[in-house]
């Protein structure tokens, strides 16, 4: 059984929590005591229905205010797959939360209300999905029951969204008409929409092909930790521990260690269960080399004929997440793969209007929840790939050195 991580995004009242509740409920992933808890809380709120949204809104303030504050993670499994849902609220701190939820997602579900059609937020959510390079997108046209299960309504939304998505270079788009409240096309195909010939949502989630989404071409092994047992049995042992960020590595491969540029050859790839012939993303392994060279955390083991860019000048799209704006001249801590360094903000080239995709070039700073193109200079070189080629070696976070808060998410562009 494999694993699918997906994120959900929708505007207020699009029925996102209800949809997740429905997926969990109809796939029998809700436990009796959880359901009793939700039924009790619903009655106490004076609601006529069992508010499935209460399954995901767990914090005291959320229950009191009837809102979702933070990304919540939910788990369910069917015989076909295990699923991790990152449920991201659509209103408060939407950029921060959606960027966070989408960063590790294989697939994103964007909800729209069939009565309202595409709204500003739907475009914004689709844009963030494309910015974060989530490989698969599902547009769930919800509340079909409230438009009389109309094919025409669905088709109009589908057409409009498909045109918009084409501008965003979204690779795989699926549009599904659903009613989360009544369960149409969520787990089982709806009898109310015989004109819809596609799969129900759960069936799509179970079958969408994700194995080719990883980069299995560019060998990238960021060294996380050097293993040197201080024991007589393993006196001369030296292994480089890490998680493979791209490509396939094999015993005997010629490699180059960056940034030093020293060549060597893989003598073995080890796990605690014994050596393996090959390893690929996202395996955590320990790589040993034939030559005794100086390698430390933050270095990268690659193939000589396929190397990342080594640079201190970084061009990137940045989603900014702090109340204090990002300004030229600012110094920040930066974490990229296993490498920690410092960065100076050289310039903010433009801010992107995520609704119109218009570039505002007169903008000198990035405010909370805005996205823009920036240029950074780092104190030590980074070993970079373009984010669209590899999310692992193309993404970085920016940290405020005074508060230690994570304040920005960067996606590298090779200019």
């Amino acid at each position: 059984m494999d694993l699918l991580r997906f994120a959900t995004a929708g505007s207020v009242d699009d029925g996102k929590s209800t949809l997740i509740g429905r997926l969990l409920y109809d796939s029998k992933s809700i436990f009796t005591d959880q359901l009793e808890g939700v039924e009790r809380a619903s009655r106490e709120m004076g609601s006529e229905y069992t508010e499935l949204s209460l399954l995901t809104d767990g914090l005291r303030a959320e229950r009191e205010q009837g809102i979702t504050i933070d990304v919540a993670y939910r788990y369910f499994a069917t015989p076909a797959r295990k699923f991790i849902i990152a449920d991201t609220p659509g209103h408060i701190q939407y950029t921060r939360n959606m960027v966070t939820g989408a960063s590790t997602a294989d697939l994103a579900i964007v909800l729209v209300d069939a009565r309202k059609g595409l709204v500003e937020q739907s475009r914004r959510h689709a844009f963030l999905v494309s910015l974060l390079q989530v490989p698969h997108l599902v547009l769930a046209v919800n509340k079909m029951d409230l438009v009389g299960y109309s094919r025409e309504v669905y088709e109009n939304i589908r057409r409009e969204f498909t045109e918009f998505a084409a501008k965003l270079q979204i690779a795989d788009l699926t549009v599904i008409p659903v009613s989360a409240l009544h369960g149409d096309n969520v787990v089982d195909r709806s009898e109310n929409m015989p004109w819809y010939e596609g799969a129900a949502l759960l069936n799509h989630l179970e079958n969408v092909y994700i194995a080719s989404d990883r980069n299995l071409v560019d060998g990238r092994f960021p060294v996380q930790h050097v293993i040197r047992p201080h024991s007589s049995q393993f006196h001369d042992y030296r292994g480089y521990a890490g998680k493979i960020a791209g490509g396939v590595m094999r015993t005997g491969d010629e490699v180059i260690v960056l940034p030093s540029g020293l060549p060597s050859r893989i003598s073995s790839i080890e796990t605690a269960d014994g050596p393996v012939d090959e390893a690929f993303a996202p395996m955590s392994v320990t790589v040993r080399l034939e030559d005794d060279i100086d390698i430390s955390r933050g270095d990268m083991i690659c193939r000589p004929n396929n190397q990342p860019r080594i640079t201190q000048d970084i061009d990137a799209m940045v989603a900014w997440m702090s109340d204090e704006p990002m300004r030229p001249g600012q110094k920040l801590a930066l974490k990229h793969t296993t490498r920690n360094t410092r960065a100076l903000v050289k310039s903010v080239q433009y801010e992107l209007d995520v609704n119109t995709l218009h570039r505002n070039e007169s903008c000198a700073e990035l405010k909370l929840n805005s996205i823009g193109r920036v240029r950074l200079r780092t104190t030590t070189p980074l070993l970079t790939d373009e984010y669209r080629r590899n999310r692992e070696t193309g993404g970085f976070v920016l940290i405020d050195e005074h508060t230690n808060n994570t304040v920005g998410a960067g996606m590298i562009v090779h200019a």
Binding site: G58, K243, P282, V397, N404
Partner: protein, 306 residues
């Protein structure tokens, strides 16, 4: 773990992905934080954590201390098991004792006799005494709704408190481990595991767990719809007749609060079947401490609880 390496599509199973993620997180803590410690109760989740920590640094030893907060309300089987494991892997065990803290007067016994809340100050006190600024724990997001919103690297202020509204965004697998002096990080490498994943992993890896996780005969009584063992910490009242029942434990905590479930599952395979078909969450079935209110866990975490 299995022979997927031969698969031309190079697809990992969910357990392999979760294992790799947890090993990566544990290595990240050791690489970035000076004095981490691994929380260890002898329960199944902490045994899985220890197993993963051993794998993460093999063939070297686990490069951190093992911290047990001992409520004094223990199941003897679990304490014996802890000591066996510590000896077997030559671990550096540090114990924070709730009984000692009560004797010294730094914490007070709760009026109801349970020691769930008193664990928190003892945990914080012990971490401070040894200078631990990162504590690795086996908590999972599927356990409880407040935990579902917690980060893998969960920042705590100088009082060890969690503020759900001031969490650091966590992107990709780039974890922010930076803290000021006095502050700390709690790290949950099993965040994305479910109870079923834990048992599948225990079965796949052959991890030994204390005998109370498997069905056995025990003298119990019923309270609030849950089955409690009759022992020195938990005495039945007059209206609570005791009886012998085949039970097992789904979680292991303070013996005054942790209930057993009726079960015939005396092997790991039978436990897997039972967990796969159960309709009640593990904490819902067995933990008196979560029953205080809808937000009982959130409130305790804000005070510094795990």
């Amino acid at each position: 773990m299995s022979d997927v390496m031969e698969s031309p599509r190079r697809i990992l199973s969910q357990l392999e992905v979760l294992e790799s993620e947890a090993i990566y997180i544990i290595r990240e803590v050791v690489a970035e934080i000076e004095r981490p410690a691994l929380m260890f109760s002898g329960g199944k989740d902490s045994l899985v954590m220890l197993h993963l920590a051993r794998k993460a640094f093999a063939p070297a030893a686990v490069p951190m201390a093992i911290l047990h907060v001992d409520t004094g309300h223990n199941f003897p089987e679990v304490l014996d098991f802890r000591d066996k494991i510590v000896a077997q892997y030559s671990l550096n065990l540090v114990v924070g004792s709730v009984q000692d803290a009560i004797d010294r007067g730094t914490v007070k016994e709760e009026p109801n006799g349970t020691r769930n809340r008193t664990q928190t100050p003892v945990l914080l006190e012990t971490a401070e005494k040894y200078g631990f600024n990162a504590l690795l724990g086996g908590a999972r997001r599927d356990e409880e709704k407040a935990r579902a919103k917690e980060r893998i690297f969960s920042f705590r202020d100088e009082f060890g408190q969690w503020d759900p509204k001031k969490q650091r965004p966590e992107l990709w697998n780039l974890f922010n481990a930076r803290v000021h002096v006095g502050e700390s990080i709690r790290v949950f490498p099993l965040s994305n595991w479910t109870e079923l994943d834990i048992w599948e992993y225990i079965a796949a890896e052959g991890i030994e767990v204390p005998s109370i996780y498997y069905a056995h005969e025990r003298e119990v009584f019923e309270r609030n719809g849950m089955l409690f063992a009759a022992n020195e910490f938990c005495r039945p009242m007059a209206a609570e007749p005791t009886f012998v029942e085949s039970v097992r434990y789904r979680t292991v905590g303070d013996a005054t609060l942790t209930a057993a479930v009726r079960s015939q599952a005396d092997t790991v395979e039978k436990v897997l079947d039972e967990v796969a078909s159960t309709r009640i969450t593990e904490r819902g079935a067995t933990r008196g401490d979560d029953r205080v209110s809808e937000a009982a866990m959130e409130d305790r975490k804000k005070e510094g609880y795990f």
